[in-house]
Amino acid sequence: MLQVKGGSFGYTPEKAILNNITFTLKEREILAVMGPNGVGKTTLLKCLMGILKWQSGHSKLDGKDSSEARIKIGYVPQAHQFSFPYSVLDMVVFGRAKYMSVFATPGKEDYRIAKEALEEVGILHLSDKSCNRLSGGQLQMVLIARALAGEPRLLILDEPESHLDFYNQLTILEIIKRLTKEKKIACVMNTHYPNHAIKVADQVLLLNDCKSVFGKPIEVLTQENVRAYFGVDSAIVRTRILGKEISTFVILNQSLSENEPGGARIEHKIVC
């Protein structure tokens, strides 16, 4: 459904941030994009979304250039601030804009869908609250609801779990998983949490300046890869609690804490 082929992008001509990104995502699949800070995760999402233009290569959604298929994409950005205090419901209804003619205003149906989306993320009770009086986590939930209200084919989320408490983190991950499966959509999300990737993602894209790895979470998030891409020792621990086996990603940070903090990432940076 989503195909990216040889995509490259750089803010300045000298230095490309993204190099030759290639992957394919099928319906009902979730892709988790991972990588160190500043590697270009947000940039990748913006390219997929069409906010930034690929400098070479392309991405296609359902066979169409994704910038044309923009209406089918729901996007939840990373950082926020509003100059006008719209109510939560109004904010979510904005997600319906793309389906309406330029001169139209939202109708009953749009409000119904918006309320459904709010209910889905569990914040219907905030409907009438003003967006500039929400806590960071609440705002994040509102933005996710707004993307859902747009009934997207492809959902793009930039660190959706950030600022959420861990109940809400689980909720949002579950929602994303369920929607992806039920509504036959695909989903791309950035995350800094391997646990989350392992829990919901079907594919993981590990980004790096020159080389990126794409594959199943367990295959990609190996001890070697994590060390190469993040400079951290890690392990995936399987525990059996209350009769259920749980895989948990664990960071083995003794190496770090014994070194000078802030020192170089010794084993980091793969040779290009």
């Binding site: 979304m49 069409g50 906010i51 923009r70 209406i71 994409i73 996007y75 950005p77 509003f82 100059s83 006008f84 205090p85 719209y86 109004d90 904005f94 997600g95 804009a97 793309k98 309406m100 330029v102 001169f103 139209a104 205003t105 939202p106 009953k108 409000y111 003003s130 707004r146 747009g150």
Partner: protein, 338 residues
């Protein structure tokens, strides 16, 4: 929606206010006509009769006061809705209808017209409208498309164009004949509804109404624009196209207003603020309420201007003197939500 009904009620109330204010101001003027005579005249109009004993009164009500009240209402509505729209588009509460150079362009056109024809006829009006549009087109052409921070780019381009046209206007004042052209230009630029008639009304009614309808139709989209470009884009709409459309409607309105009554400041800046306090920030409600309140406000102010003294008080003085305390009141009731 419960909220929507409440808003409909408010709009209805504002509309009622406007009608009442307009009718009342037909009764008031320096030439004394008894209320019962006014009523008789209205009846006469409807029955297509004419009373010879009230010939002057008839002329005053239907040819002097009526067009003037209508023009004041249109201009008030137009400037206010434009202010509200542009403040949203540029996410800046200091934006007034002339931010992109319309007023200065239209002012220049009018000054040029007066210089060339020594009169405020059709040519002057036409030049005024033409240069109003031209100035905004210039501004738009100065805006670099690739610009990262789009709104700043518009505003800076607007400043450039405004300053050039203002300077050109001064230049015209400077070369104009001090005997009759200069006072005409100054008088015209000061803004006034004095001596407006149905010809003037005919000139502006179409552009202003079209503009108001256009902006009102776009009102919900303006909400999204006010979130910023990237956000709007990510919601699947094209912010640039909506912005251009809104700017063009705004320009048509403002140019027509300036053409009809010179440059009247303040209203377009302040009425939207008041409405935002009274009725909320949603452009959905903000635009219609601004235009209705703006119209009533302008009719009231103009009525005061006509009535308080025999030599009309310039509209600009009264707008501020009546509006400022009103604004201060609203402002002191604000809860810091702007």
């Amino acid at each position: 929606m419960d909220g929507q009904k409440r808003i409909a009620n408010k709009l209805l109330a504002l509309f009622g206010l406007l009608i009442v204010v307009m009718i009342l101001s037909l009764f008031l003027g320096r030439y004394s006509i008894r209320p019962d005579e006014v009523v008789r005249l209205f009846k006469g109009r409807m029955l297509l009769e004419s009373y010879s004993d009230l010939k002057v009164a008839e002329h005053i009500i239907f040819d002097v006061r009526l067009p003037r009240v209508l023009i004041a209402a249109l201009v008030g509505a137009g400037l206010s809705i434009v202010g509200a729209s542009l403040q949203g588009i540029f996410q800046n509460p200091l934006v007034s209808p002339d931010i992109l150079g319309v007023s200065s362009g239209a002012g220049f056109g009018a000054a040029l017209g007066i210089l060339l024809t020594s009169g405020a006829g059709l040519i002057t009006a036409g030049l005024s409208f033409f240069f109003g549009l031209l100035s905004v087109l210039l501004t738009l052409s100065l805006v670099r498309v690739k610009e990262h921070s789009q709104t700043m780019s518009y505003i800076l381009a607007g400043i450039i164009v405004t300053s050039v046209f203002t300077a050109l206007t001064s230049l015209i004042k400077y070369v104009a004949d001090t005997e009759d052209q200069l006072p005409s230009i100054i008088f015209w630029l000061m803004g006034s509804f004095a001596n407006k008639n149905f010809d003037d009304l005919q000139l502006i009614i179409a552009p202003i109404l079209i503009g108001i309808l256009g902006l009102t139709a776009l009102r919900w989209r303006l909400n999204i624009l006010s979130l910023g470009d990237e956000e709007a884009f990510s919601l699947g709409i094209n912010p640039k196209r909506i912005r251009i459309a809104a700017i063009l409607f705004s320009t048509v309105i403002t140019a027509a207003c300036v053409m009809a009554s010179g440059i009247i400041g303040w209203v377009g800046l302040v009425i939207p603020h008041i409405c935002r306090q009274l009725f909320g920030v949603e452009h959905d409600t903000l635009l219609p309420t601004s235009s209705l309140l703006g119209a009533s406000f302008m009719v009231i102010v103009d009525c005061a201007a006509r009535n308080l003294t025999s030599a009309e008080i310039p509209i600009g003085i009264l707008t501020a003197l009546i509006g400022a305390p009103f604004f201060a009141l609203i402002y002191s009731r604000m809860k810091g939500e702007v």
